[in-house]
Amino acid sequence: MNARSARTPHRLIALLLFLASATLGAAETPHLGQPALLPITQTLAGITLHGLAAVPVQHGGRYKPLFSLAMEVSDGIAYTTTFGNGHTPLTSLLDLLFCRADYDLLPIARVKHTELRRDLSLVIPEAERKLLLADGKITPRLLNSPEVRNELEKLGRLTAKSKAINQVQGAQGMLDIGNVLFQLRLFPVPAGAHDDRWRDPADLGTDFATSLTAFIAAARASDGSKASFADQTWSLLPISVVTATKLRLANHQELTTLNQQLLWPLWEFAATGALDDAAARKLAADPTQAKALGVPEPEITADALANLELRWSRLGVADEDLADASARPAWDAAIKQAVIAWNGLGHGWRAARHGELPAAELQPRIDAFVAATATLLDLHAKDRAARGDAPLVITTALELTYWRWQGNIHWVWLSLLLAVPFLAMGGIGRQTWALRVGYGLLAVGFTGQLLAFIVRAELAQRVPLSNLYESMAAASLIATWIALLGEAGMSWSRRIASILVLGLVALLGVVLVIAFASGWPWAIIIPTIGIVTGSCLIMALANRLGPAARGSLGLGASLFGCLIIFAQILLEYHDINAFISPAMPILSEFWLRVHTSCIIASYGLIALGGLMSLTYLTMRIWLPWNDPRSEAWDRTTFAIDTVAMLVLWVGLVLGAVWAAVSWGRPWGWDPKEVFALLTWVVYIGLVHLRVAMPAKKRGLATAWVALAAFVVMVFNWYWVNVQLAGLHSYA
């Protein structure tokens, strides 16, 4: 890579993609003559991407590591966070950015909706139909074909499959490098008093004249072939996909046309040596002189060049955007360095992936880019300080740790899974040592979940209760907490339990006094009261129930935790999206902490009750109804059901109050509201059934109805969210 090419980083991608398109034809597609991509494991050998993964990027209204964005991009295309075959999210993104054409015929994209797969299979070649129908996989070329696009548009008009169609169109968008680059706001460059947007690679381009001069110089140094046009200039061309987006070119066809009709002839002409350095500079400075310089018309019209220059002038970094004018030289140097580093990374990655560059030579390029962005970030922090703005909170290292932790969540799952037999042995078999081991494992699982919850709250800068993934994790956490508290309450004497409860209540009183004196917000005071009183209630209730049912709560909680983590892993990035994003505007922090936390606590309790009922039903296979263990188990389950019913009701009422202030009415028969109410109705039924049933059938009846309540709750939690349109789509 020469220095001139490095000045034009934002042209990294475009041409290969478009030259690979059908408009030029496969025979002329330069990339087809290049070596195939190496296995990613081979490329990764000897290099480390940790620094690159942690580079902050401004995306989706927050600052996240590049790794997080990479996961989201891959998920948008492949419905999983990598392209597979040993790829990491980051390598998938890098391949997409720098080796997009190599993936054109690989089935990396996925169609999630099975009905939509059937619809689309009717318009694609038979050879690819089987793969689409079986696994939803489809090649980018086919996904972007007119047949598929037309079919999607037709289906959008005729059917109510908008959600599924949006997913596929999202994948189409992600496969458009212009879109991906547009989201790649890696460069913290000030944008003025009213715009805090970071810059993407295309924003940092040099001026039109420099770009065009470099382009002509590269052409003169080449043999003028189309292969050289593609090979040597793909980062030099003055116009790329992303630039086209910014320049408001109508579509890719127009871009392709521009590239082919204007730039290729210019390349060919310049390669003949007809434009010397002075002429190139003159043309770049004033495109209207094209004819005077002997540039062949009509292939390269002065108007087209002038028009390109006009559009080009809209790009760049404005002087007035800098808070401190004296920092301008430092900014210029840092931006230039970032441009060179980005271009070097792109060239290097592409070459390394094709086996043309040893991995060891790639590492310095990666490090240079990481260093360049760090320099920009440092300058940006100084610029903010000069403006009097607060420094940005960027926690990319913590976020990477979080994702690493999430990648190892199966260890938490394993500890919860291992707790199940021990707790069963301890609870039903009355083995105290097994109980201890079981609760120890449960405590380990709880700690893991709690850490993840706290870190996520820190990363998201809000209570993590605003989507399905977060609510599932929180419900499991709450159920485990209740089980641990309940176990403690059951095993302690009444005196110790009373002292603890009274102590907690007294502590709460002191905290409240401090809170009111210090003016703590209600968003903290109310959940604090809820957590402490709820914990006291659970402990007191468990203490009343006595030790006969020890292990029952832990068993239910560990089963629930296993189920939740299993579902999160199984459905990860499908319907259960783990990505961290800002909450929707309607989700106020206060009501998330007050209403949502209450509802999720009730979900945890309902799940606990339901799964305890399941263990009770299993137990009843060999134990009679009047066995003390059965009776204790039944009584404990019913106690949890009663608390669940109460907490669910409180959550419903708080939700109604929120709805009244947010939507103007307390109750609107939204599906989420209706099924939450119906879950409560099932519990009311449970209470009445318990009254109506004779003693020996009471336990079984309770267990079955509690299970039914659990099923209705799960239906409301998952199915209503995913399948039924409503006002709680975020829940």
């Binding site: 548009e153 009343r544 009254v691 349109a725």
Partner: protein, 758 residues
């Protein structure tokens, strides 16, 4: 629940000596009855919510399903059951007090919910941020803030050109600010069009821009700018040269004057410019472009060195109107007293004259005005005559009211339907044969209704259903297309221009009915020859187009065509669970009768019938805009009909004073949005209005009415929709809910009381 005691089911239910009344009471209060009712409630609600296709089969929306007779019956039965159980079955002991309180809570909640749902009013109020008041000599108009909205201004017009919700300006204090601005194009007879830029709350920053090419200056105090003695300068009204500036690009002279400063800046200097003015053709000159700034504004222009008469004044930005006939233009608050009920349908009727002369603000107070009448529709049925369900053929005839001695009735109702305007053969229509064609390209079908021609009077016409992005190129081709077929049965095949600038254009001749009474089409693309294709009704020809097949289908030949308005029922697979009867996808048929003669018309639903018709298709207001239908009533004139909702009176006037959308870092994603409003009660016009900010989770409570932030227009931020409603028995519902929670808590506590078991 007291687990240590025998349950009521375990105990003998009645004694042989119990009275029949007591037996009935015990039967009603049985837990099994409660359980049965709960199961029915569960099924009823689950079906209404999750199985919405079943609910929609009954043609009811969620509110109607859940608040309908079946629900009332069920909840009433539950109340009776609980009351009876508390009286005759559950012991009145301390241990059971929780159960009684729970029962009381449920009963109170059902009753208060009954009051709430029975007396609640919910509606929507559309507030626009400002309207533009324009006053000219002898004329005035008001413009709603919607791009493309145009109003007559005497013999001229005023048009909203653009709205810039976050326009960055340099304030007089020298700081950059983001403001909400609206650009209005003013056209007055005899003067060039100019644009007024109005900024919210900053009338002092109003400016006027215009593009002219005149030799007359817009600044009377500086009639011209010329180059003499190698320097550029302006000339004052008394002929004095001022602002002497060197002839160098970028040179600028600044002088202090009363009211600020004036300056003259040389922008470019171009030598050897061919002169175009009369008497100067064939000569070249040196052109200097410049910008002259004064306290009154700035204008740009050009001067020719040595030719003072050739000075041209071009674009200008002025602080005062360039046309003195424009007396005033300003942004004014737009107060509203009106919202629309969510659940009560109405037909809005206006006489055509009233509809035509209405002011866009006046309809906002329609209830006192005689120009518009809202006729409530009571008893709109839950079936429709085009449906596949029961009652499908039951006739509908609802009298809704009389306006100007014309009786209006609703004679059909089509929920889940959209309005269409197909052509039909109508017996009383004049004879005017047309060919009903459908052309398909790129997966899109477009109907065409073409007049057939005789073989000797046919012209080629371009079919524009194929996307043509370059309008100029399209127009250029159009201009060439005046060639006609020769007067022979075999048209010459060279009619299409050889070199079309856009190869995607397709040309088709007018369909020709040949002497043999068959229909023939000639089809071609630029640079190709025309090909003829015979067509018979019901058949399709397939034309090869760049390797793709272009199907052309002749549906029918209409002898006496007339465009009619008909509902097109939305297929069930396209309906969503939230689609409600009486919402956007519905139509009613209104029949107007006068003097024994009736006429009917289909009217589509529109959410805000007060909006003027001519909002155009741009902007969010255009989206909300009404879809009125005109109806000719024999002997009674023309009426404009809108099918919407009943008006909901608010406590007074409320108007928007601002709107804010804070964004998340580096994105367009809003972190929240809120509007600023002012409001004043009726009859207190002299009082200072109160102000409030309505956030998403912070409504405004005004008397017994709540206003909450419902939706807004992200493009222009020129409007907001506020949800409006009361909450009858809201506090009572909350108390009942708390009583219920208390009862459950006490029951739970009592259940734990029996003591520790080991």
């Amino acid at each position: 629940m007291d687990e240590s005691r025998p349950t009521s089911a375990d105990a003998p239910s009645t004694t042989p000596t119990a009275s029949p009344g007591r037996r009935i009471a015990r039967a009603i209060s049985s837990p099994w009855v409660s359980l049965t009712l709960l199961v029915i409630v569960f099924l009823h609600q689950a079906i209404g919510s999750a199985l919405y296709t079943v609910r929609q089969a009954f043609e009811v929306n969620e509110m109607e399903w859940f608040n309908g007779p079946a629900s009332l019956l069920l909840w009433g039965a539950i109340c009776i059951c609980l009351t009876t159980a508390s009286v005759v079955r559950v012991p009145w002991t301390l241990r059971k007090i929780g159960t009684h309180i729970t029962h009381l809570g449920v009963i109170l909640l059902v009753l208060t919910c009954g009051i709430y749902f029975g007396y609640k009013h919910e509606g929507d109020a559309l507030l626009v941020r400002r309207y533009v008041k324009v006053e000219a000599e002898g004329a005035s108009c008001r413009l709603l803030p919607n791009p493309g909205y145009q109003a007559a201004l005497g013999a001229g017009t005023a048009t909203v050109q653009m709205i810039m919700p976050r326009w960055t300006i340099l304030s007089p204090a020298g700081k950059s600010e983001q403001v909400w601005a609206i650009l209005v194009d003013i056209v007055l007879p005899g003067t060039p069009k100019f644009t007024a830029t109005l900024i919210e709350d900053r009338p002092d920053l109003t400016q006027y821009t215009l593009d002219v090419r005149e030799s007359k200056s817009l600044f009377p105090e500086y009639p011209t700018v010329v180059v003499t003695e190698g320097r550029l300068h302006a000339v004052t009204a008394d002929g004095k040269p001022v602002l002497m500036t060197a002839l160098e690009a970028g040179a600028k002279t600044v002088e202090a004057v009363a009211g600020g400063e004036r300056s003259l800046e040389v922008r470019t200097i171009t030598a050897d410019v061919p002169l175009q003015a009369d008497g100067f053709q064939g000569r070249n000159g040196t052109m200097v472009t410049w910008t002259l700034k004064t306290p009154a504004g700035q204008q740009s222009g050009s001067s020719i060195v040595g030719e003072p008469t050739l000075t041209l004044f071009q674009s200008a930005r002025l602080k005062a109107s360039p046309d003195p006939r424009l007396k005033g233009i300003a942004l004014e608050p737009a107060p509203y007293q009106l919202a629309y009920h969510k659940d009560r349908a109405a037909v809005w009727v206006r006489r055509e004259e009233a509809a035509l002369r209405r002011d866009p603000l006046q309809p906002m107070r329609p209830m006192g005005a005689d120009a518009v009448v809202a006729l409530p529709i009571h008893g709109l049925p839950r079936y429709f005559e085009h449906g596949e369900f029961f009652n499908a053929k039951k006739p509908l005839d609802l009298a809704i009211g009389t306006v100007n001695e014309v009786a209006f009735r609703v004679t059909a109702f089509a929920p889940y339907a959209r309005i269409t305007h197909p052509w039909r053969d109508v017996a009383d229509a004049p004879l005017d044969p047309r060919l009903d064609l459908v052309l398909t390209y790129d997966g899109k079908s477009e109907p065409r209704l073409l007049p057939p021609s005789s073989i000797d009077a046919v012209e080629t016409q371009p079919m524009t259903w194929v996307h043509c992005p370059d309008q100029a190129a399209y127009d250029a081709v159009m201009a060439k297309l005046k060639a006609r077929f020769p007067d022979t049965a075999a048209p010459a095949p060279t009619i299409v221009p050889e070199e079309g600038p856009n190869p995607r254009l397709v040309f088709i001749t007018s369909p020709v009915i040949t002497p043999e009474r068959t229909v023939q089409l000639w089809v071609g693309v630029p640079g190709t020859k025309l090909h003829s294709h015979p067509l018979v009704p019901g058949s399709t020809v397939e034309v090869d187009l760049f390797g793709q097949v272009l199907p052309i289908r002749l549906n029918q030949i209409l002898q006496r065509p007339r465009q009619v308005t008909e509902p097109l029922v939305v297929p069930s697979e396209q309906r969503t669970s939230r689609m409600s009867v009486g919402d956007a996808e519905s139509l009613i048929q209104v029949t107007a009768t006068s003097g024994g003669r009736s006429t009917s018309v289909w009217v589509p639903y529109t959410p805000f019938p007060h909006l003027p018709r001519d909002l155009g298709n741009e902007g969010a207001l255009g989206m909300y805009g009404p879809r009125p239908v005109m109806i000719d009533v024999p002997g009674a004139g023309r009426f404009e009909l809108c099918y919407g909702k009943e008006p909901l009176r608010m406590p007074g006037e409320i108007w928007m004073t601002g709107f804010d959308v804070p964004r998340r870092p580096g994105s367009n994603s809003p972190s929240e949005f809120f509007c600023h409003v002012a409001y004043r009660k009726d009859g207190e016009e002299a009082a200072t209005p109160q102000t409030a900010t309505i956030h998403m989770n912070h409504p405004l409570a005004w008397e017994d009415t709540f206003f909450f932030q419902a939706s807004w227009d992200p493009q222009t931020q020129a409007l907001t929709v506020l949800g409006v409603g009361n909450r009858p028995a809201g506090t009572a519902m909350l108390i009942a809910s708390i009583v219920l929670a208390l009862g459950m808590a006490i029951s739970g506590a009592m259940a734990a009381l029996p003591g520790r078991k080991s």
